[in-house]
């Protein structure tokens, strides 16, 4: 079992023929992901990486039966690409693109929620269900299948932590990189809810960052659902920025600091180790309490 994507997921790639789209589509295909085609406006009817290219997402969905899209479209056009995917009847849309203006994403995120489409990202590394389906830019070889449900805001920190878990023998059910932008389609708490219903997932690992209140919300849900979990917060030693105006402070209050996030997790009974090695040890304590 897994969340969001599995071996039956049929994928189209938006921004298929571009440099990043091409490189990562090939990597995903090599991993075993069922990529069934791609979209590049103006190149419909051609073939790329041995797969059909379409001008629009609607046509691609109609011809291939895809249920999921992954987006590598440049930032200025990416919000429109997300909307196109949301309106074309896809179940899941993963947007890798970095640098999309906030104002473009606010209505798109709302549209996805209103239509019940699972939007992940933008500015994220994607999602991987090890051994079944890789939809993202992560190196596939550092993941393995197992009981850890993994959620992270950061891309590269995900690799670091997943690699350590895999080396220690703790595989992952699904790893979700939710993205670091202020507006993202899927939050920590959405993933916590989905993992709680997944039978294969026995423990959650959350890698948070300073800023926003998503970690605090996830901590509250973890407590409510009683899911075993371990959390890490990056940026504990980051100096406070030169804050301009009061608007941000008024919205988030004292939440957003590393200390507030650590406190929220600890109050929910979730250990918050400082290093990756200690995180692996906490996972070991939960998964194999008597084996040592």
């Amino acid at each position: 079992m897994s969340i969001f994507i599995d071996k039956n997921t049929k994928v189209i790639v938006q921004g298929f023929t571009g440099k990043e789209g091409t490189f990562h589509a090939q990597q995903m295909i090599d991993y075993g992901t069922q990529v069934v085609g791609g979209v590049t406006p103006g190149k419909g009817g051609t073939t790329h990486l041995g797969l059909p290219v379409f001008d629009t997402v609607a046509k691609a969905v109609q011809d291939t039966g895809a249920d999921t899209s992954i987006i590598f479209v440049p930032a200025a056009f990416a919000a429109d690409a997300c909307s196109e995917a949301i309106e074309s009847g896809l179940k899941t849309v993963i947007c890798i693109t970095e640098g999309i203006p906030i104002n473009d994403m606010v209505p798109v995120r709302d549209q996805a929620h209103a239509r019940g489409v699972r939007l992940i990202g933008p500015n994220c590394p994607g999602v991987i269900t090890p051994g079944e389906c890789k939809l993202g830019i992560m190196p596939g070889n550092i993941f393995s299948s197992g009981p850890v449900g993994f959620i992270s805001r950061s891309g590269t920190l995900t690799y670091q932590a997943a690699d350590a878990l895999t080396r220690a023998g703790f595989g992952q059910s699904t790893c979700v990189g939710i993205g670091g932008d202020p507006i993202i389609g899927t939050q920590f708490k959405d993933c916590v809810g989905a993992f709680a219903k997944d039978e294969k997932t026995k423990v959650l690992v959350l890698i948070g960052e300073i800023g926003g209140s998503a970690e605090e919300e996830a901590a509250a849900l973890i407590k409510e659902l009683g899911v075993p979990a371990v959390a890490m917060i990056a940026g504990r030693t980051a100096p406070p920025g030169k804050r301009m105006g009061h608007a941000g402070a008024i919205v988030s209050g004292s939440s957003g600091t590393a200390a507030a996030k650590v406190e929220a997790f600890e109050a929910a009974g979730v250990p918050v180790p400082e290093t990756i090695d200690e995180m692996v040890e906490e996972v070991r304590k939960i998964l194999a309490p008597v084996a040592r």
């Binding site: 930032a75 203006p101 906030i102 202020p182």
Partner: protein, 378 residues
């Protein structure tokens, strides 16, 4: 991206928000001339990108050319929370009867823009937010339909006010939101939003920040940015020119990595093993060899840096590209300080092979890399 009060007021004026009249000056003489033109009592206000300047003595009242010159002389060059005052705004002084607060920003938890209003505006708004949160109304704007009349009514009828004040406030809410969307702001804030003793509502201060991701469609903001940035950290400016996310810190270990999370994690780790990072530098996703070389050059140009730690875990970034960039850097730059490189992920073997061939060792983990660089820079 952030701009000064005087620049923010120009933007407010553009969309028709009533502002206090005035101009910016870089010298006491200029300030005096502006005061003479205004011909009445003026406020001389330090233009620094930090809050609390009033309490620090950065705002003074003056009357006439000579007094204004004198007050400007006191303020220009002043140090406010580590920032040197280069410019002052000289504007008509107003007699304030009431101070309100009006701000717009993104509420990440609601995933919507939110309008915030309080009749308890002024310097202590943050304290009000903490001790009397009920004194600030927050109205979330519809993500898809934008600002609607009922949102404005909710703001204007939240607290007891005179009829005319409500009418004036409605105009402020509407025009400020227009500016916020039109210019892709992340914050548009008027504090205080002043009601004068003769009953006018006017923006006595303006704080406007912009979404860096949207600057590509606002060439008109570039000029403002350049004007503001002349006062910033030279290395941070250079980094921005090159498109790198760089923040100067006060330690001695240069840190370069890919991804904000990983770089933050690396700073945490360097601190944990007893080192002090000299900077935060995120090369971003998919960095080319050229970008890596540029980053190394930038970090080494800081004389405080005693050694550089690279922490790369590649997804979209390819290990061989990073390795090529480091090799190229060591060829063209005078690398007289130790480097420690941690390279994992996409094309890690290729990358490590390239480094090994050039005699540069790689550390296997972040922990090991942090310990090595700390030992080498002791």
């Amino acid at each position: 991206m952030v701009i000064h009060e005087y620049q923010g007021k120009l933007l407010l004026d553009e969309v028709g928000v009533p502002i206090t009249r005035g101009r910016v000056a870089s010298t006491p003489e200029e300030a005096g001339k502006i005061a003479a033109e205004i011909g009445k009592k003026v406020a001389v206000k330090a233009q620094v990108l930090v809050g609390g300047r009033g309490k620090a003595g950065g705002i003074k009242l003056a009357e006439g050319q000579a007094e204004t010159e004198q007050k400007a002389r006191e303020i220009i060059g002043m140090d406010i929370k580590g920032l040197k005052v280069e410019k002052v705004l000289v504007e008509e002084a107003i007699d304030i009867a009431k101070e309100l607060y009006l701000g717009i920003t993104l509420d990440r938890a609601k995933a919507a823009h939110v309008i915030m209003f309080s009749t308890m505006g002024g310097v202590d708004i943050e304290e009000v937010a903490e001790t009397h949160p009920e004194a600030i109304i927050k109205v979330a704007v519809s993500p898809q339909r934008g600002l609607l009349d009922h949102h404005i009514r909710e703001v204007c009828h939240a607290f007891p006010m005179e009829k005319q004040e409500r009418k004036d406030l409605a105009v402020f809410v509407k025009t400020l939101f227009e500016l916020y969307i039109k210019k892709d702001c992340t914050i548009a804030e008027i504090n205080p939003l002043a009601i004068t003793t003769d009953g006018r509502m006017v923006a006595a201060d303006a704080k406007v920040n912009f979404d860096a991701n949207a600057l590509f469609r606002h060439p008109e903001l570039e000029a403002m940015a350049t004007e503001t940035e002349e006062e910033g950290d030279p290395l941070e400016l250079k980094a921005k020119e090159k498109g790198l996310a760089y923040v100067r810190l006060d330690g001695e270990i240069g840190v370069i990595g890919n991804g904000a999370g990983l770089v933050m994690g690396t700073l945490d780790e360097v601190n944990r093993v007893g080192g002090k990072p000299a900077n935060f530098l995120d090369v971003g996703g998919g960095a080319s060899a050229q970008v890596v070389t540029t980053s190394l050059e930038l970090v080494l140009s800081d004389p405080n840096v005693k050694g550089v730690l690279f922490n790369i875990f590649g997804g979209i970034t390819r290990g061989d590209e990073v390795a090529k960039g480091i090799i190229e850097g060591t060829k063209v730059l005078n690398v007289d300080r130790p480097l420690v490189i941690r390279l994992s992920g996409t094309r890690e073997e290729e990358g490590r092979a390239i480094l090994k061939e050039a005699g540069i060792e790689t550390a296997a983990t972040m922990e090991e890399a942090a310990k090595k660089i700390v030992a080498l820079t002791r």
